[in-house]
Each structure stands twice: as C-alpha cells, then as structure tokens.
C-alpha cells in the first residue's frame, strides 16, 4: 500500500512570496490533515478535511493560508504572502473513517522563508 505522498520535499522562498504544497493521501482515506511543525515543537493542526469538506480550520491563519481538497482526494495548502515565522515543516496525514483513528503521515515539506 502506497503511503501519503507530499511534494515538494524542500522549498526556499523570500518573505512576501507565495508557495503551494501538495498532498496525496493513502487511497480510500476520507480524512486528510495538514499540520505545521515548527523546529523544536510538536505538530500543530492547521486544517482537517472529511472528503472535500472542511471539518476544522480553527487554527489556520486565514488571512494568508488557504487549503482545498476539491475532489476529496489530493489536497493543496497555499501560503500567500509568506512571513519569516512560516518557516516550518508542513506535514500531511490521512486516515480511514473508522476506529482506531490512526493517522498516517507523509514525509513533509520543509519550508524556509528568508
């Protein structure tokens, strides 16, 4: 079974530029998550999708971050414009809709904003 795929793996941009990350979850996984992991911290949930609908985006900085999952499969997370404090690893995870609710994580995208 293929795992969660993410691209790119690394990205360096200047502040005020825009960037987009892509995630393809495990086939059949209805729930998809985007996390932000700042160096030295645990992952923090940004947004949760159930199929193509948003379940929780309470911690997504909506003035600059946006995410979509149009067909209920792959997803894109965008930052526009980027700030220095957005430097982090962005992790995508997915799970099936049944207990035990185990989340499977992708390798992440390391973003550096200069």
């Amino acid at each position: 079974e293929a795992g969660v795929a993410q691209s790119p793996r690394y990205k360096i941009i200047e502040k005020r530029q825009s960037v987009a990350f892509w995630c393809n979850p495990i086939s059949g996984h209805a729930t998809l998550y985007w996390y932000q992991q700042i160096l030295g911290q645990g992952p923090k949930l940004l947004i949760q999708f159930q199929n193509n609908g948003v379940v929780d985006d309470s911690q997504l900085p909506k003035d600059r971050f946006s995410a979509e999952r149009l067909k209920g499969v792959d997803s894109t997370l965008k930052i526009q414009p980027a700030k220095l404090e957005d430097s982090a690893v962005y992790l995508c995870a997915s799970r099936v809709g049944l207990p035990p609710y185990e989340q499977y994580f992708g390798p992440g995208t390391r973003l550096t904003v200069t």
Partner: protein
C-alpha cells in the same frame, strides 16, 4: 481542552541501556493515546497506541508503554536501546469525540555508543 506534556526535551542513553520517555496528559474525557517516532527528515511513524483494555501496550521496535489513568501518564519504555533508535519521539492524545490529535513538544533520544 486536551494537552500533552513531555517534560524531557532531550534524553541521552548509552547503547543497550534501558530508557523511559515520559508523557503526561490532561483531558476531561476518555482519551486515546499515541506515541509517534520521527527520524531525521522523515514524517511521523506510529510506534504504539492505547485505545482501551490492557494498560500495557506493546508496539514496534521493542517499545512498550503503560497507561496510568490515576497519574494521567503514558510513559514509553524500551529495555535495551540501539543506535537506530536515535530519533524524536512525540506523545499525542485524542479524545474519541473530536478525533483531533494534540501533540507534545517531543523528546529527542540520543543513543551514545
């Protein structure tokens, strides 16, 4: 609201020695508890999970954890560590209702040859 505390940010251990990584949680409801491992430049991999039943949970790579409801703890243990265990370890809690994972700040385990 739920939260997780990992008191030890770094734990150095000699190879083949035992190790315990501490995790305490707070939640007002019944919880699910998880330990994830993150190797350098990789995503998180599930080590083990507690959902219900036996309080001693065994996971991959020889790790185990014990759920202690009275002390609200879920400490991770391994009787003999190997160089390949060098990684960051994250404890996470989820209450069954919202299925949302809240992570601790992580413990960096360094194995000394």
């Amino acid at each position: 609201a739920q939260s997780v505390t990992q008191l030890d940010s770094q734990v150095p251990v000699f190879e083949e020695a035992p190790v315990e990584l501490r995790c305490n949680y707070s939640s007002s409801v019944s919880v699910y508890l998880f330990w994830y491992v993150q190797y350098p430049n990789q995503g998180l991999q599930l080590l083990l999970k507690y959902l219900s039943g036996s309080t001693l949970v065994k996971g991959i790579n020889g790790f185990e954890a014990e759920f202690n409801k009275s002390q609200t703890s879920f400490h991770l243990r391994k009787p003999s560590v190997h160089i390949s265990d060098t990684a960051e370890y994250f404890c996470a809690v989820s209450d069954g209702g919202n299925e949302k994972l809240t992570f601790g700040t992580g413990t960096r385990l360094t194995i000394i040859p």
